[in-house]
């Protein structure tokens, strides 16, 4: 993944999370991964097109998703209903959109696809031939892993 793409994603995730959660957010160590990896339970995915091809995946466990959705909606949500799903989807959209805006300012053309959300137990995601950049984010409500897998359009 091009070095120039890394910062926009990290910054966007950091800014958006801090803003919507109104609390401190800590970024973990970035790393690369190529094999398939387990999904914690809730995964929102946004596809990327344009200069690149790939996707961004926001991965968290169910309790974290519930707490984040509660914080964003200013009410206590206890069941994993449509509102929670819509909220997490929106969060994924906000972060990716901000990252793409930053990339646009740097002269890269990215388009996004509408986000989709997956929930379930024991899920796994694999992109055999694209390695993913993992950006772990620690929030007061739990851990979110942002998994960016993009490659240059050849």
């Amino acid at each position: 993944m091009r070095v120039e793409y890394i910062n926009p994603f990290v910054e966007a995730a950091f800014n958006v999370l801090r803003e919507v959660l109104q609390s401190d957010v800590r970024r973990g160590e970035l790393y690369l991964k190529s094999t398939s990896m387990p999904v914690m339970g809730v995964a929102a995915i946004v596809g990327l097109a344009g200069d690149v091809e790939g996707r961004v995946l926001f991965d968290m466990d169910k309790p974290t998703a519930l707490k984040i959705a509660s914080a964003m909606n200013n009410e206590q949500l206890n069941s994993f209903d449509d509102l929670v799903k819509a909220t997490i989807t929106e969060l994924a959209n906000m972060i990716t959109a901000q990252a793409v805006t930053k990339l646009h300012d740097l002269g890269f053309r990215f388009d996004l696809t509408p986000p989709a959300i997956f929930t379930g137990e024991n899920m796994e995601v694999s992109n055999a031939d694209v390695e993913a950049l993992i950006v772990p984010m620690e929030t007061a409500h739990g851990k979110i892993e942002i998994n960016v897998a993009v490659r240059e359009r050849a």
């Binding site: 993944m1 091009r2 070095v3 120039e4 890394i6 970035l30 055999a128 031939d129 390695e131 050849a154």
Partner: protein, 438 residues
């Protein structure tokens, strides 16, 4: 053999007490099987037997060391005897129980993994026969003898010889047997086998790998042999071994290619320019795995611009060190950079920077080349002093990648002291080591 038949055989023994040889049981052994054959070890060396799993992996240990295990508070190392003896070992699931014989040799306790533990067999030490030299699977020096009991032949292993702490002069030899052989089998690298010849050389190879991740293979063997001779002369009978990382660095001095980690100087740029073949195509694709901070990538971009002024150039430069590579795209240079770069540099806000044409030709990517590499057909691969720092098996894989992705007339630029063999033909001269597919 059941307990009953054992009793019978004992009764038989008593019955024949006056036979030609006094059969008295003075040697007991634990018997077990490895790859379908029966073996025994002296019961005096055995502390206990156990079933265990989930051994803790130890990095950089020899391949036959499965890891360490916590035996009721005592940490013991666990050796897989099948791998030690190059016998087929079935790969069990991580948490499947393995049969362990816990050995006590002098003060040391070890666990050895075997296929199955059988029973205790008592024999007369007089009936042990010396090992036959054509015994096959296992090196004769580790065999104490052969004994027949109840219709079965048992090979008695000399565990004291296998596990005794190696004396200094044996270290290399021991390393050259199982470790090197297994590695060689994995990587099929002839260099590892050749290592058996000189004990200190083998030892230095091991330490270079563990201190600096530098692997001696056919790629850099010529340099290593020359450097080793030099090292011997320098140390004059002193201890040849590398005791710490700084000594490994000292050993590797002189390995580095000219201009490593900086902008190449005028002479080297000119030499690289000369080594580049004429290319007719409209665009040139270049791969630079392990670009580090990116200085050499910038230098190469300028050389290519000068050599092929009309062509579109694309360089994919990768490194897995995020800190190093994140600075690369926005590098600024001092005013007194070598004259070769003058046409490509322009004054920016913070210092000299390369012009847009050069900048646009490089993609710096945070990427681990040991993961999948997706690249278009390549005209050039620049990997100076990089292959020597990946494990032999990954070296082979990367070279396979190079050969898959290079166009028929494409070349690989290696480090000054690296040589590609087997399927590669030299295409460079002097300072620049270039190779094309054979």
């Amino acid at each position: 053999m059941t307990a009953q038949t054992e009793l019978e055989s004992k009764a038989e023994t008593h019955g024949q007490a006056t036979a030609k040889r006094a059969e008295k049981v003075d040697f007991k052994m634990i018997t077990f099987s490895l790859a379908g054959k029966e073996y025994g070890v002296d019961i005096m060396n055995v502390k206990e037997i156990a079933k265990a799993s989930r051994f803790t992996y130890v990095p950089n240990a020899a391949p036959f060391v499965r890891g360490v295990y916590n035996l009721r508070g005592e940490i013991i190392s666990v050796v897989d005897l099948r791998i030690f003896f190059h016998l087929p070992a079935e790969r069990k699931a991580e948490d499947a129980l393995e049969s362990l014989i816990i050995l006590k040799i002098e003060e040391h306790v070890f666990g050895v993994i075997v296929d199955a533990i059988d029973k205790v067999v008592g024999i007369s030490s007089a009936s042990i026969q010396p090992p036959h030299p054509i015994f096959g699977d296992i090196n004769v020096k580790y065999i104490r003898g052969i004994v027949e009991n109840g219709g079965k032949l048992y090979i008695i292993l000399d565990v004291e010889k296998i596990f005794a702490p190696p004396r200094a002069e044996e270290v290399g030899a021991a390393a050259a047997t199982p470790t090197e052989a297994v590695r060689a089998r994995e990587a099929e690298s002839p260099a590892a086998i050749a290592a058996g010849g000189d004990v200190s050389a083998a030892f230095i190879k091991e330490t270079l790998a563990s201190f600096r991740g530098f692997y001696v293979t056919t790629l850099n063997e010529t340099w290593f042999d020359a450097r080793f001779a030099q090292w011997k002369a320098m140390r004059k009978g002193e201890d040849l071994q590398l005791r710490e990382a700084s000594e490994a660095d000292q050993f590797l001095e002189g390995f580095w290619s000219p201009g490593t980690g900086e902008l190449w100087d005028d002479d080297y740029c000119a030499a690289v320019e000369k080594a580049l073949p004429p290319i007719e195509a409209k665009s040139i694709n270049v791969w630079n795995p392990g670009c580090g901070k990116g200085y050499e990538t910038w230098a190469l971009a300028c050389v290519l611009r000068k050599r092929y002024p009309e062509t579109r150039i694309k360089i994919w430069a990768n490194d897995s060190d995020l800190l190093a590579i994140s600075m690369a795209p926005n590098m600024v240079f001092s005013e007194d950079s070598p004259a070769y770069y003058a046409p490509f540099l322009s004054k920016g806000r913070n210092g000299m920077a390369f012009n847009q044409a050069v900048r646009d030709s490089i993609f710096f990517e945070f990427h681990d080349v040991l993961n999948a590499n997706t690249l278009p057909p390549l005209d050039l691969v620049l990997c100076r002093d990089m292959l020597s720092f990946v494990a032999p098996i990954d070296q082979m894989r990367l070279l396979g990648d190079f050969s898959d992705k290079l166009k028929p007339n494409g070349i690989v630029l290696c480090g000054a002291n690296e040589r590609l063999v087997e399927g590669w033909a030299a295409a460079g001269s002097g300072l620049v080591q270039a190779f094309r597919k054979d």
